[in-house]
Symmetry: C3
Subunit: 338 residues, 3 copies
């Protein structure tokens, strides 16, 4: 894997002001601290500004004010982090394969598969499924009956997509993830065993969505479970049946929505932040790590629960036992006040 | 996918009293709010009773008292939610395949496979495994040596079942799940590295069990890890080595049992509720979301820990820092009282 | 599956003092409580000492002081639990297969595969990958381009290893796990949608590492994500991009490291213990279950947060609501004190 671009080519793509050797060859990206010969670094977080004077990077992406103090080659932009994100695609090490349908793939004759796709070894595509132009479906993945994947989709190895799942364009799904498994629907019977509620809805996923590894998006009980456009899910995320994730919302690892929960657009859910069933969170909400949302939120802003101060275990034991006495303590204080 | 039944056929199956057009054609199920022409809805939760007057459903499943105020076609039963669950199977969109052993499946010659089963593409079945009558094993799943799957089992795509796993009848296991991986057994060596404890037990799973997606049930260290009859596990559940889940217990997403933990029969574990190692929970216990059970429970009832009130992050910070001062606060109150 | 060893063979391997019938045939391992004829049990935890007088085990591994009161056959060692761990490998029920490359495996012609390996059905190995001597790669697993697996590696069924992942010797990875998926790297665009940051680092894993089922280790954004030698990860663990796990650290189920978090050597992370991004934990730290580490730890020891006392739900509600009033309560106490 070896790529090489001139600083001026990169500057043109980023619409950056270039300062220094425009024909400099750039062979990789790195952080200010770790960069070496031929590498392009970036300064996004002001707390790393002091690394600028010592970096061995061949060039640096930074803002105009930071560039003032910097003698080296640089690309001046308004948003260095975004510029780094945009140029990162040029250095991607995962190579998409040329169009090919591997002979070991098992594709039902009624499936509709575009011509310019890569279908890897042992991929199984069931009846009525549709794979649009430019898709890459890696080895050992499964696409259920009547499910569709929009153009330029990337399905990594060992992904499972059940039947009746509608996926938009430019969607990436990582290994081990499962889209469209049955929601957890059970009804108690008189003898207290459980009757299964068959999950007859599907899943609808918008455009430009990315889904991490070992993440699950269950099918709906009656209507579809939905992910909007631009949704980004990390690993080990759980989206239960009939949940709805609004456009451009990002959910970190272990975060989840219980059945029929809704989270709005432009929300950010920290690690392990969960929303209980049938609760709605409005647009533009941030939930810090470990927050459990048990009531609907109708005002944008940042919300928290659950994460408590960390301390030595012996101290924690002394303090946490008091949590179980809190109501009594509060009553004692009230009595003292009287 | 298109099915159609008459209201009278459905009434007969549900042993429901029918009111209205018995020959009405029903083509789908829906909620009161979303139902349209041809759809059958249900009223189970009283808080949706007001939707009854506005529903566009062609018929509704409800109780006799609610039917009194309703002019439309209806099916009268004692338990509408259970009736809906039971009839949902008629509208299932996942079609079981006819009996077939796909030529790409790799089945050891010593495996015993019933004649009327579906074994999908690229399924691998190792030596001595047994697949009973009526089983459906979807593409790319793996069944290890000497493992057995009882009659009418449904194993979705990309499921991994290790060796010596005994699965009862009518068991459903969803994609990405792993049954029988090694338990997390390690013993410290004098140099503080870890010696692996080989996990020589297996897994025993009862009848009528359903296991969600990306859920793990580890094999036992010495004897078997066990799931009783009628157990229902959601996605991302963890059952560690030698844990025991009692009959008809339901566990929501991210809930788990650590090593040798036991949960009784008819229990319900909310999302992320976990039981630490070697702790026992009796029958008929409910654990709310996020509860961490660190001591055995011997009385039925509902138990909680961990889930704290949610609030704006700035307020949470002020309050949560006080948790770390709680013991001191309690002592100050005591002093004031003296 | 049937194995048999004499007590003297086992004693020799464990360097144990033997007392009793040295030619006794041992056919299995068990606990003191469950052992029967032909089984070898062990007494490691003093709280089970009273089971010694009633055990039906044919022989017991124990310490010299416990052996004093025991009339049966025994093996005397300093560390019975470690001795049990070491001998457990003799009774392992998972049989490694003889060297074979299954004809259905799809191996790129540029991959370098040692001669004495087992490559199961439907395994896919991409260009430039290297599989060293003694490896066992079970059915339906995927090894990406240029990834390498050191000698005697064991990759279970349905494992996904992306490109540019470097794995040391004697590494075991369980089913459903995903190594090298893209880290969760996104940068906000002016319109508040997300720009993907392509993850161009890889993953480096040391020797003697074990990774449980449905666990994810993401590739680095720029440089590699790293697991040291002897690291042990349970199921459902999350290691985010550029995180570093030090040698011989063990992480229980649902524990995780966010992006660029570092945990030192010889640490133990309990279930669901998580370290937030860019935070560093030094060597020899224990984190109890549910702890959330939000600040770096520089002193060895045991740390906690988050796990609160469990109680009946009605009591918990009364107490937990007070957490939201804690700051006000503390101020009231201060006022009383004045």
């Amino acid at each position: 894997m070896s790529v090489e671009f001139s600083l001026s080519e990169i500057a043109a793509y980023l619409e950056a002001e270039i300062r220094g050797e425009s024909e400099l060859r750039i062979t990789g990206l790195s952080t200010l601290q770790e960069a070496g010969e031929g590498q392009l670094a970036f300064l996004a977080n002001p707390k790393y500004a002091k690394q600028l004077s010592e970096t061995r990077a061949s060039a640096v992406i930074l803002t105009a004010d930071k560039a003032a103090d910097f003698k080296g080659n640089c690309l001046i932009v308004d948003q260095p982090y975004l510029a780094y994100a945009r140029i990162s695609s040029w250095f991607e090490t995962s190579t998409l394969k040329p169009a090919l349908i591997h002979p070991s793939a098992v594709i039902d004759s009624s499936a509709i598969v575009a011509k310019d796709v890569y279908i890897g070894p042992n991929v199984v595509i069931e009846a009525g499924a549709e794979i649009a132009s430019g898709c890459h479906i890696a080895a050992n993945s499964y696409i259920g009956a009547r499910s569709s994947i929009g153009s330029n989709g990337y399905i990594a190895a060992n992904v499972s997509i059940y039947h009746d799942v509608r996926i938009g364009e430019q969607v990436r799904i990582h290994s081990g993830s499962v889209i469209g498994a049955d929601g957890f629907g059970i009804a108690p019977k008189p003898d207290r065993s459980w009757e299964k509620i068959h999950q007859i809805g599907g899943v609808t996923i918008g455009n430009d969505v990315e889904i991490g590894a070992c993440t699950t998006v269950d099918r709906g009980a009656l209507s579809d479970t939905k992910l909007g456009d631009g949704v980004k899910l990390d690993n080990h995320v759980q989206i239960a049946h009939n949940a709805v994730v609004g456009d451009h919302t990002a959910m970190a690892s272990y975060s989840g929505l219980a059945g029929s929960a809704k989270v709005g657009r432009y929300c950010i859910m920290g690690g392990d932040a969960c929303i209980v069933g049938h609760v709605t969170v409005c647009d533009n909400v941030q939930l810090t790590a470990r927050t459990l949302v048990t009531k609907s939120i109708s005002e944008p802003g940042s919300y928290s629960s659950g994460s408590t101060p960390m301390m030595p275990t012996t101290e924690w034991r002394k303090n946490s036992v008091r949590i179980g006495q809190l109501d009594a303590l509060a009553r004692r204080v009230k009595k003292l006040e009287q």
